[in-house]
């Protein structure tokens, strides 16, 4: 109980401060917590309200998944091909790093219009570098003893990749997924503002354009809640439950 007391106090203090600031702000500029929650509730219960949440979650997942597959494939390729390593090192990674995500979003709007593809690809491009750099780094840190052991049983590279190398990369993939998702949730907002006519980001821009401040706060709160559930809930759970085994290094006999 004592462990929960301080965090609870901090949250109560935050809400109280918000309330006091809202009360002292010029009317309508800062909705108080209750007004924010009510606004969000009204938006969500409006026709197609929850659809906007669903479509955003879908885009974040699909975009991150596409970025993950692309990043992992490229990262794994660096191990098996010198050409792939050179391409990743000199072109692909710098390009992904140097071009602002908003520029990708604008280019995708020009190419695909206001279609699902635009936010999904924008998220994929934003998430891919996290997977690429982590897998690439992980590939350099692989325990060559374990790979030699595996290759004493088979010469099938695919089997060694699946049974030994990819599992060895799980901690790197986990770190990549955490950063990738976190970025995806942030980038989905501008991606949907520029490139979509649905989703939470689009609703946020509608609220903004029609100067409905409580709605802007409401959708922002929705984003915050979803990200907190993800980051503190899901990833912490997976980390505590499953990643323990990977972090234990095999001790050399002494």
């Amino acid at each position: 109980m004592r462990k929960l007391a301080l965090p609870a106090l901090a949250i109560v203090a935050f809400i109280a401060t918000w309330w006091i600031l809202a009360a002292s702000a010029r009317s309508g500029l800062l909705p108080n917590p209750l007004q924010t929650v009510v606004a969000l509730y009204q938006r969500l219960t409006a026709p197609r309200g929850f659809n906007h949440v669903g479509v955003t979650v879908y885009r974040v997942f699909l975009g991150t998944l596409i970025g993950a597959v692309a990043g992992i494939v490229l990262g794994v390729a660096t191990r098996y091909s010198k050409l792939a390593e050179a391409a990743v090192r000199s072109v692909i990674y710098p390009l992904l790093q140097a071009v602002p995500t908003i520029c990708w979003a604008l280019v995708f709007v020009l190419w695909f219009g206001l279609h699902d593809t635009t936010p999904i690809l924008t998220i994929a491009v934003a998430a891919a570098p996290f997977f690429l750099i982590n897998v690439w780094e992980g590939m350099k840190e692989l325990d060559s003893n374990l790979i030699e052991m595996a290759s004493s049983y088979t010469h099938n590279k695919g089997r060694i990749l699946g049974k030994v190398i990819l599992p060895m990369l799980y901690p790197y993939l986990f770190a990549a997924a955490k950063s990738g998702f976190s970025t995806a949730w942030k980038i989905v907002v501008p991606a949907e503002i520029f490139g979509s006519t649905s989703g939470m980001g689009y609703m946020l821009s509608i609220a903004f354009e029609s100067y409905r401040i409580a709605d802007v706060f409401g959708w922002t709160l929705a984003f915050a809640i979803i990200i907190i559930i993800f980051d503190y809930g899901l990833f912490n759970f997976v980390d505590k439950r499953y990643m323990r085994k990977w972090k234990t290094p095999e001790l050399k006999p002494s």
Partner: protein
């Protein structure tokens, strides 16, 4: 396929160099089916290199390596009948003991489906770890981990088992226990065994024949047969006599001290 004959492993005139540095030259010996042969030599003499070449893990420059009648320089079919136990256990930390043993079957197998659970269980039983099947490597002692590695090697039913100083990392008690255990498993499985060691006492205790190597460039100094029946006593006039002979071969060279009891 040639007639496998009575030899599990034949090595003829093996040469291996790294650039101008000649590591091995003129190495020829064989291991008969069901024989236990130890390679003994000073550290850094290339004894591990011989084993790694024979296990198909590194290439060689010239000569012939024939496993079960198949020349591994020509195709790798002979290597299907080989398992290796390394100096370190090399277990996957995310798999428990049972799953680590099962790994070699998964890696070997060309078809998909249920892995041989019965084989895994009997391999674990053979190394005395049935009660630890669900334990993860970090929960096992050094000796237990090496037993898991041993079970992983024998579960594929190899014709020939290569062991690269498998007991070097262990303390005296574990070493002697595992020496006897390896001999027991070898005779139980009727497998051919080639074990690399730097410890004369270990070789004398375990081997049918001891291949004694020189320092670099590595050549075979002598091949010594050990006739005494098993189980062998740790200390007897015969053991002391053999150890004296072997140490005599290394006059002027450093051979690993066998730890005294």
């Amino acid at each position: 396929m040639e007639n496998p004959g009575t030899e599990a492993l034949v090595i003829k005139d093996l040469r291996k160099g790294y650039g101008p540095l000649e590591v091995l030259s003129g190495i020829s010996f064989s291991v008969a089916r069901g024989e236990l042969v130890c390679i003994l030599g000073p550290s850094g003499c290339g004894k591990t290199t011989i084993l790694r070449i024979a296990a198909g893990l590194i290439p060689f420059d010239s000569g012939e390596v024939v496993i079960n009648g198949e020349d591994i320089g020509k195709n790798r079919n002979g290597l299907r009948n080989v398992s290796v136990v390394f100096q370190e256990p090399r277990l996957l930390p995310w798999r428990n003991a049972r799953k680590n043993v099962q790994l070699s079957l998964e890696l070997r197998k060309d078809s998909h489906g249920e892995e041989g659970t019965a084989e895994v269980d009997s391999a674990l039983e053979l190394v005395g770890l049935s009660d630890f099947a669900g334990s993860y490597p970090h929960e096992l002692s050094g000796g237990m981990k090496q037993r898991v590695a041993l079970a992983r090697a024998i579960v594929t039913e190899p014709e020939i088992l290569f062991m690269d100083e498998p007991l070097t990392g262990l303390d005296m008690r574990n070493r002697e226990e595992l020496q006897d255990e390896i001999v027991r498993i070898w005779s139980n499985k009727k497998v051919s065994l080639l074990l690399v060691t730097h410890d004369p006492a270990e070789a004398i205790h375990m081997a049918d024949r001891i291949i004694v190597l020189s320092g670099r460039p590595t050549r075979i100094k002598s091949i010594i047969g050990v006739k005494s029946p098993r189980p062998r006593p740790r200390d007897s006039s015969e053991v002391r006599e053999l150890e004296k002979t072997i140490r005599g071969l290394f006059a002027g060279e450093s051979i690993g001290e066998s730890p005294r009891r």
